[in-house]
Amino acid sequence: MVLKAFFPTCCMSADSGLLVGRWVPEQSSAVVLAVVHFPFIPVQVKELLAQVHQASRVGLAVLGTWCHRHQDAEEGLGHFLEGLGAIFSHEPWLQLSRERGGKLWSCKATCHQGPPGPAAPDEDQVMLVFYDQRKVLLSQLHPAAALPDRQAGDGTAGAEGLAVVFDTVARSEALFRSDRFDDGPVRLSHWQSEGVEASILAELAKRASGPVCALLACLLSLVSAASACRLFQLWPLSFICSKLSVCEQLRHRLEQLTLIFSTQKAENPAQLMRKANVLVSVLLDVTLGLALLSWLHGKDCIGQLAKALVPVADVSWSGSLVVLEHLFPACWGHPDCPFPAQWVGPLPPVCLQHVAEELQHLLQWLMGAPAGLKMNRALDQVLGRFFLYHLHLWISYIHLMSPFIERILWHVGLSACLGLTVALSILSDIIALLTFHIYCFYVYGARLYCLKICGLSSLWRLFRGKKWNVLRQRVDSCSYDLDQLFIGTLLFTILVFLLPTTALYYLVFTLLRLLVVAVQGLIHLLMDLVNSLPLYSLSLRLCRPYRLAAGVKFRVLEHEAGGPLRLLMQINPLPYGRVVHTYRLPSCGCHPRHSWGSLCRKLFFGELIYPWRQRGDKQD
């Protein structure tokens, strides 16, 4: 096998000395970590290597010699370096040399033991692979090769191929701690030999984070204990909390904050990345929320919004009363009529009243001949009036709320401090509350339609002379009596001819409901995006691509005749799609659980659909 020598680019201009690193026999590769300069005492070099071995569990050794000299320097240095091979015996012994100021490299590997047989590598078969030590140290390979545990000893089982190089460099941090300004017994050259990298801000942040995290972790544990108390498990509160998406979002936010401020150190790089992602995502969320808050309060948007909802005198309300009067002349003024002849009390809010008006127009259209279809007059009138009365009840409900709307909006606007996602979830809940009547209409229409379909299917079986065998769970033939057949056929005919009317009402209200659900769904999608996007990882990939490595890539450097093959190993960064996929944060979990096929089937049979169920809710 060709012998590969991995040489750090920072040592390319270092003075002559000894090569120190790790030899991997399975792949016939020598990973050079540092160069030891003259003068040195061999015993001290061996001690240093033993210390590093104890600290990092990486088997380091002196691999060979490095010679960086002028072209016409005397040969004495060369012989001296060869003599060193006798003191530090290592198989094979590498001899790298480079001409100072020139481009001639030469690389030799010799085996002292055994006769030079066909297996002895000669000069043609040594490959020099240059690597950037700092980048290889800081980068993390994905998929993370099964790196051996730090405490598991020296074994290379699991780390294969080039992951061994990354592993070796990452674990030998103890070797890189001294720089050339230290007065140690041994002088080394490596990536930090010009001065150890450190940052004052990072150190200060590390010192300050301890007590701050402890304090905040205490506060957060108090808050979560308060929220888990028995009061919230009681029926009305727990039911409301499970239906509102605000509570889910607040719970999620509490979990995130607990993760960030936990006093435990992250055990592995994946956990550290997750903490960092959660922190950046919470910061962005709060920033956007504060921006929204300042915009709302700055332009007095809350005041304007409340005014739009605050009761004002409007002509169209009385206009619609006139329309209703013409529509039901028989019952207008009748004591049982659900609509009052004149409205007493404060007038309803403008925009909600506009929505109510539109719904009334829609119901009146349905009660006529919608799209030219001929409806059953009696059923049509019954259903139309029932829904109109329901609408009237809803208007009264809005009436009760109207004095408090501005104050509620102002307090709700304050919640944007907790983040944009909380504000969005409140918006989604407000939409749900304000369109509650559409939801009720949909449920009524769906139940009616479902009953009709059930009745039709069972009577259709009777029509053909069959019945559903509950015991055998299949359709069996059955002999009916004449009067059973008569009644059954009569009912079947009635249901079939009433089907278009019910189906039309069901269709219209289902479409309205789906529209509201779509709007809520978009808001949830936006919330999910802010919650689960790993922004820290993405910005790391953008600014420091070598930190997240998918692999390596090689470039062949200029090749001189007679010299060894020289390659440059660079880090191949992870593509953006894989970054998002690997470091995605868990979101609230509000995913639609129906496929399109099952959704269509449910719609056809009139079963109720709940496409945006919260996590942990039971199926209805």
Binding site: M1, V2, K4, P25, E26, Q27, S28, A119, D124, Q125, M127, V129, E160, G161, L162, G551, V552, K553, F554, V556, H559, L565, L567, N572
Partner: protein, 188 residues
């Protein structure tokens, strides 16, 4: 050592194969695809602008024209950056691995490196592509679980699609290097 020969791809376009022998254990093959032709670019731009002008005469909205210019520019940039591959390179290094690089017309390069321990063999395979039967070179990867199984087939030169004569040249060189690899297993 470097030499260049011209071949043709499956549609008849001209390809240039550059072979570089750096050392007995390292070889590189570089296939250059035909460039973006001015004729097709002009044709597509004219078609888009004619369609936009047609819509403009219908709708009388000048936004359509600016949108058409915008779309053309973005489309061209996107095509050059994500779709049009100028050169495909295969670098095979004994006992390290095989590296495939695609360089796009905008200068972007995308590289994949497969370690030698995962490579089982390099073969020429036949495939049915639309209405043709074509040959393509592919790398077979070892299955970690089953010693004689194959876990993945990685095709090489996917966008250049050279013909059999070009593939045979590349195949022979790769087999010479892989033979070294098989002859000298991991040293004890």
């Amino acid at each position: 050592m470097e030499d260049e020969r011209s071949f043709s791809d499956i549609c008849g376009g001209r390809l240039a194969l550059q072979r570089r022998y750096y050392s007995p254990s390292c070889r590189e093959f570089c296939l250059s695809c035909p460039r973006l032709s001015l004729r097709s670019l002009t044709a597509v731009t004219c078609a888009v602008w004619l369609a936009a002008y047609g819509l403009f005469t219908l709708c009388e909205n000048s936004m359509i024209l600016s949108a058409a210019i915008f779309i053309t520019l973005l489309g061209l940039l996107g095509y050059l950056h994500f779709v049009k591959i100028d050169q495909e390179t295969l670098l095979i290094i004994d006992s390290l691995g095989i590296q495939m690089t695609s360089s796009y017309a905008s200068g972007k390069e995308s590289t994949t490196f497969i370690e030698m321990s995962k490579v089982k063999d390099v073969v020429i395979n036949e495939a049915i592509y639309m209405q043709k039967v074509i040959y393509y070179l592919c790398i077979l990867l070892k299955d970690p679980v089953e010693p004689h199984g194959i876990s993945q087939v990685v095709p090489v030169f996917q966008s250049a699609k050279p013909r059999l004569d070009c593939l045979i040249e590349v195949y022979r060189s790769c087999q010479e290097i892989l033979a070294h690899q098989k002859a000298t297993p991991a040293s004890p």
